[in-house]
Symmetry: D3
Subunit: 328 residues, 6 copies
Amino acid sequence: MTWDVVTLGEVMVRLTPPNFERIEQARTFQVTAGGAELNVAVGLARLGLRTAWVSKLTANPLGRLIVNEARAHGVDTSPVVWTDDHRIGVYFLEEGSSPRPSEIVYDRRGSAASTLAPEEVDWPSLLCGVRAFHTSGITPALSDACRRTTAAALAAARAAGCLTSFDLNYRGKLWTPAEARGVLSELLPHVDILLGSPDTIELVFGYGGTPEAAGEQMRRAFGLRVVALTLREAPTVLRCRLASVAVGDTVARGGWTEVEIVDRVGGGDAYTAGFLYAYLTGHGDLARAVAYGDALNALKHTVRGDLPWFTLADVGAQLTGRGTGIIR
Amino acid sequence: MTWDVVTLGEVMVRLTPPNFERIEQARTFQVTAGGAELNVAVGLARLGLRTAWVSKLTANPLGRLIVNEARAHGVDTSPVVWTDDHRIGVYFLEEGSSPRPSEIVYDRRGSAASTLAPEEVDWPSLLCGVRAFHTSGITPALSDACRRTTAAALAAARAAGCLTSFDLNYRGKLWTPAEARGVLSELLPHVDILLGSPDTIELVFGYGGTPEAAGEQMRRAFGLRVVALTLREAPTVLRCRLASVAVGDTVARGGWTEVEIVDRVGGGDAYTAGFLYAYLTGHGDLARAVAYGDALNALKHTVRGDLPWFTLADVGAQLTGRGTGIIR
Amino acid sequence: MTWDVVTLGEVMVRLTPPNFERIEQARTFQVTAGGAELNVAVGLARLGLRTAWVSKLTANPLGRLIVNEARAHGVDTSPVVWTDDHRIGVYFLEEGSSPRPSEIVYDRRGSAASTLAPEEVDWPSLLCGVRAFHTSGITPALSDACRRTTAAALAAARAAGCLTSFDLNYRGKLWTPAEARGVLSELLPHVDILLGSPDTIELVFGYGGTPEAAGEQMRRAFGLRVVALTLREAPTVLRCRLASVAVGDTVARGGWTEVEIVDRVGGGDAYTAGFLYAYLTGHGDLARAVAYGDALNALKHTVRGDLPWFTLADVGAQLTGRGTGIIR
Amino acid sequence: MTWDVVTLGEVMVRLTPPNFERIEQARTFQVTAGGAELNVAVGLARLGLRTAWVSKLTANPLGRLIVNEARAHGVDTSPVVWTDDHRIGVYFLEEGSSPRPSEIVYDRRGSAASTLAPEEVDWPSLLCGVRAFHTSGITPALSDACRRTTAAALAAARAAGCLTSFDLNYRGKLWTPAEARGVLSELLPHVDILLGSPDTIELVFGYGGTPEAAGEQMRRAFGLRVVALTLREAPTVLRCRLASVAVGDTVARGGWTEVEIVDRVGGGDAYTAGFLYAYLTGHGDLARAVAYGDALNALKHTVRGDLPWFTLADVGAQLTGRGTGIIR
Amino acid sequence: MTWDVVTLGEVMVRLTPPNFERIEQARTFQVTAGGAELNVAVGLARLGLRTAWVSKLTANPLGRLIVNEARAHGVDTSPVVWTDDHRIGVYFLEEGSSPRPSEIVYDRRGSAASTLAPEEVDWPSLLCGVRAFHTSGITPALSDACRRTTAAALAAARAAGCLTSFDLNYRGKLWTPAEARGVLSELLPHVDILLGSPDTIELVFGYGGTPEAAGEQMRRAFGLRVVALTLREAPTVLRCRLASVAVGDTVARGGWTEVEIVDRVGGGDAYTAGFLYAYLTGHGDLARAVAYGDALNALKHTVRGDLPWFTLADVGAQLTGRGTGIIR
Amino acid sequence: MTWDVVTLGEVMVRLTPPNFERIEQARTFQVTAGGAELNVAVGLARLGLRTAWVSKLTANPLGRLIVNEARAHGVDTSPVVWTDDHRIGVYFLEEGSSPRPSEIVYDRRGSAASTLAPEEVDWPSLLCGVRAFHTSGITPALSDACRRTTAAALAAARAAGCLTSFDLNYRGKLWTPAEARGVLSELLPHVDILLGSPDTIELVFGYGGTPEAAGEQMRRAFGLRVVALTLREAPTVLRCRLASVAVGDTVARGGWTEVEIVDRVGGGDAYTAGFLYAYLTGHGDLARAVAYGDALNALKHTVRGDLPWFTLADVGAQLTGRGTGIIR
């Protein structure tokens, strides 16, 4: 068995109070599972690619809950490393409305995923025949072990001839911009496609200006094939406009999509899934990749949870435009 | 016992996932009942007219659930034909936010209502003394039996001296525009008041231009007394502006109402109920009918379910304008 | 034991249908507790002041539910008068969206709080050492007993050297503007800080013009130290802009805050809490008081229930501006 | 229009915390409507008799909620007297498990129903042609007005040739046994069928011994045609055995039914409905009446709310015995 | 890729009103997926066997919901046949308590699964290398096509050397006992392991007496290797005792397990999964198979939904006995 | 300010899937707060004693949620030590029915409470004037720091003249019986009242025989004033009988109470609260202490969450016996 895409990263159980309640107010939490790289894998699997996800999970009900969710969408979880030790990380999402922004409280320290060492996975055989490998800046930020694992995985992916994809995903609670820059500067030379946002590119690497300019600077600095940057203008907490730009040998920029936000967590991961799907199935056509990324990103904002609950038909309908009336 | 208005049509059980969930995501469905012609009957009964509804239902818990809902609002369901066969149709409503439109998945094939034959109801005695009869384009689209039933009911209504009202309600999943045009062209000569929208008038009959022009063309083509068209501008999935125009011997057009949409299903039926109520109680005053239709349409958009949960006092308050603050 | 602030007023159990349902539609009610003066006490306690609340409650589960909620936020409820008679008032909140405004149905007649007589509380010893006393125009409107209690409490507060604070809170279902003017004209001479809105100032006292002008007229008419008026522009039921102006020896006016409304009940009380907190801890700095009042008012609009579930850190973050993105 | 049965009595909105929560704990209440005599009317209507209910309701959303519920089950509510004054009574049900019994907290003082005066209803024309009239001991206990209304209604029923039915329904929070005995001793001479339990018969009238003996004593004392007494043995809060005995010219006693209690409120009213239905349709056959009463009583214990959500087919199935397996 | 076990059968979406509500009462339905043969596949996959499931589904959100649920538990759904036509069957489960039994209302007519023809699946290649094939008496009862498909699948399984397993699963709403006997008499000669209950064996085939005797008669009549019969004694709707007997070359009978029923649907399928798992991994040890079947059957009764949400560790714990206290 | 009782211990956020769902199945968790020693403090405060609770909490929303819950019941939380580090422990409760026992999954490692060092609290001034101090065997099992804190607190309590109370509360996931015996043998000489169960006494200290004998052995071994042991017979997961025995200078044993279990977590803590309340207010009357402990223990089993939501009136009613009927 081989896969089109393999992704690597931590997944946490997400606990969300309903109805804009504050965490302190909550008498119930809605339970979902999410993590940047699994979100990407789910998006890709739902669009039709054979996808697997690598992580490390504690063998308890929460670990099974996570794996069930991944499998439900068709992601192969056979590469997951199971352990009886450690714990499953948890995060609490407090959903806001203007002028109160949404806020995440993490409780992820000591998670099994943060202990994943390079030698726990046979990377060469795992990645043999795989078309693309994806991970994000969260993974190396989790621990030294995870930093080494990320490096080993990227190296093995390159060696196996995989396209390598990396989402910057800077998390200020895990490391400083300087720490991030240091580690990422060693990893990015092994990366083909970098995904991120102008803000975090500037924060971590200091490249500003237009998105196109920042993307090009990153591209040159690290020898990347493509830099794709998602753009967001959000006048209020519950409304935004989304677009993106991809800088490769050519530059592609999509139009803005107006969004009424139901849940924006995982939007960037949906973008990555849409982008990679179209890139891999479209012979590297950047305009198509941007269009698919933008479509899945916007759609993701309209459903609850971290995962992009959409099919290829949904993306197609979004690309052709369906208006605002009820589809009967 | 006699009624002011009798309506004819199918009602389905509606299953709606909560919180903008996709159907595929749902772990619970909210259960309501709805169908265009019952929605109208409920609106009329709540505004104070004596109203009855004709349909055919399977004698099982879902059939009783539907009848209970109708009766709760004061609609007389004694004309319903009960059967032990067939099934109750179901529809699934997936509520969206921009850029994802709401979507309905129908599972109505084989319903009891779709088997209602003309001879199962004694139309002359049912409609004796009734002031108005209403049905919609959904009914004849359901089956041959229903097409014949619609024709028989309209003919009997005319014979009984009822005002006849008909909502175009074109449903693309039930028939093509050409099929609709063929059947409706035979039915409309028996109709006094036609309700619809400029889009569907153009789609089915090819009459475009301004709403007033399209309405007038329909009026002439089929000898209608009044054509009332609801207008909608929806910049996003959750926001719209509503208005309407009625073309009779005179033309009436209401102002736009800004709406924050909670649930737009049944809005057109609420319009019909408001319009007919005012028309019947206002000696055919079109401006008043348009005002009541617009008011009930807009109000319906602010409550869940297909039904217009409003009283005459609510419509009156809406017509006088209540501002946006809390009414204490 | 002594407190920074003591407030006096009725609290009711609030029953709210979920999901914009009408009361008539409801199959469940969400249960919270709220009342103008307790809302203020909760806000002040959460920001860090030692706060107590005086009222009268029936000793039954609903009375305990209310006291539990007050205590949960750190409000001292030891001054509450308990009785085995009477009842706990209830109010039903129907949440609307444009064009349907939210609406409150009160069922408060015969409540224990409405029977609180001046002699049931030892005001001098209760208020000894307290820095500020707060009540609102709802209290004297409840009954003759409550009117006398309000007068006695304000007099005792003045005698004890407390700063006295009073929210106009005009409720048209309790009395007419003329009745309110009569009673309040006797109470306001004992008040230092008056909170209200331009609309109700004009309705009850006839002072119009700019908020600053109306505030100054009130100030002069009743010898008030400060008049703080909250301003609201609400283009739709679910969107508004908030600001305020305070007129004292100087005049302070804050900027507008854009709000996506989750629940606006208690916004004015949150304003009062923010204002009083800053006023008391800031040596009467009106600009700071306005800023804190505006911040807590706007934040309150983003959470369900009457209470301002915020900390001093939340207010600080709001004052510095946090943007619309997720805080991770 | 005429009815088979007319009932008279107050209905309250019932608020129930879910999941065995205490009222003090509740964050949500389940909302239903219930009152002894409406419960009977609903039971009779669902079994197929034409039934109407008389009461007085405040014209607000809670009043409409109650009427909607009654109509949903086919009860004619046209005799209800509407008022803009007073309030709708509320009761809170706290559901227990052994050793904590369920408990009801009433908040019914000042209800519209408690002000219903005899002259507000045209009893002779209301009861003309009606086969049976039913009310209970709660009604005269509510107020002097209601006591006079009960007397007037019973007298009118007798005059109209109705069978008169009366449920003892002693409520210790409304009056003492001595007060009850005094009032009921004047009403019972106008009653044909008395329903009650051995406990309350003994408490109010002092007649003890076997149920058959107590029933016979009541019968003789007041010239009653039939006394039907429900029997209950409840080893725990959630388990009981039910039976009944009817004493008329003959004596009928049913067997015990084992019950797993979901919600026992309204069980006695379900008994009355079953009993009266069978009595009226069975030419006074007491054994059949007892069997139908026992069946509907036991079935009611298995569904939530005060109302017996059953059909004649359900009662038939219960009478023939369906075992404990799933009916597929 | 090959599997240990392949199962064939229809899955429906199950809609269950919460809290013992009747269907007619429901305002929400809980949504799960279930069908006898998928339930078995899920149980086997969760215990650790590689399992696939064959069926036919309409390609709509309900079809995806079903496949997601199957995949979540590790069942391979790649053999499913997808179609754009037909519908997904639905069933409504009304949960009872004594004396009201639980009841299922089916709405399955016209389902995609009922149209599955033998030639839509390449049975020889699907079953190549598979250890066991399982289906049930529901499948051939659905339609002529399904009857032929069942026969073809069993024949192919025999040809491929699979162990064939068949659950009698008689459904009175699909066919009569005589019809069932006719069809099953042709299928059973291709079956190795038959699962059922003494009641249905007697109803369909007329074999009574002790379970051991009935099993032995079936075994002889159709040349079965093993007949496993589940035994149930249910004094009330919510309590039962479970056991089973397996008749092969030897006879094994397990002890009774006391069960407090949360949801008994799928209990028999859980039995089959436990039985087959132990049979396949235990070299045909009937005592072990009975023990595992009984354990998983009893455990299934304690969780909601049709599926046995248990692991091998859970079954092991049940087999060793864990008492009634909290496991901390 | 001084208190009657001070307790010391960790509190966790408890997450409970509804409706007997397994954790793996959950899509929502019910959120409550609980910990043995806070449970006791809440029970005591609700019965009327002035009570404070000492612990260490992370200053985040979960920490505030816990403190809010404690304060809601009247527990003084001013002694709590707040930190910005560490985390709030969480535990997941899976509720079972026979034959599946309830099960707890702990995720408490690294909690703020487990880092509480003796020097973080000024024990002498905290305990000055306090009548009784209570903690349990969970506290010293959490960490070395907590072990030292427990010892310091008990020593300070003795020095301050407090009655010292200690619940054995053996937790097998925190330490072995031998480790527990070692640590507890050093702590118990500072204890006056020991609470526990025969099972854990035997497991940790090896004292078996009758409860009275085991209690007396413990008493002698460690110089305890009273040993109170709760007794439980649980034929099924959802049914049990409760009693207790207290061994001091005299021996008291209560009768058995039949319990239908809603939630048994915190039952032992409720017992302790009832016992201590009666002991402290009853001059050490053991029979009264046993009666109050048994009553509050049984009542706790009938409500959700760890906390005993009862008043002195509830306990009084339980002691006099209220039967199984509805209290109206």
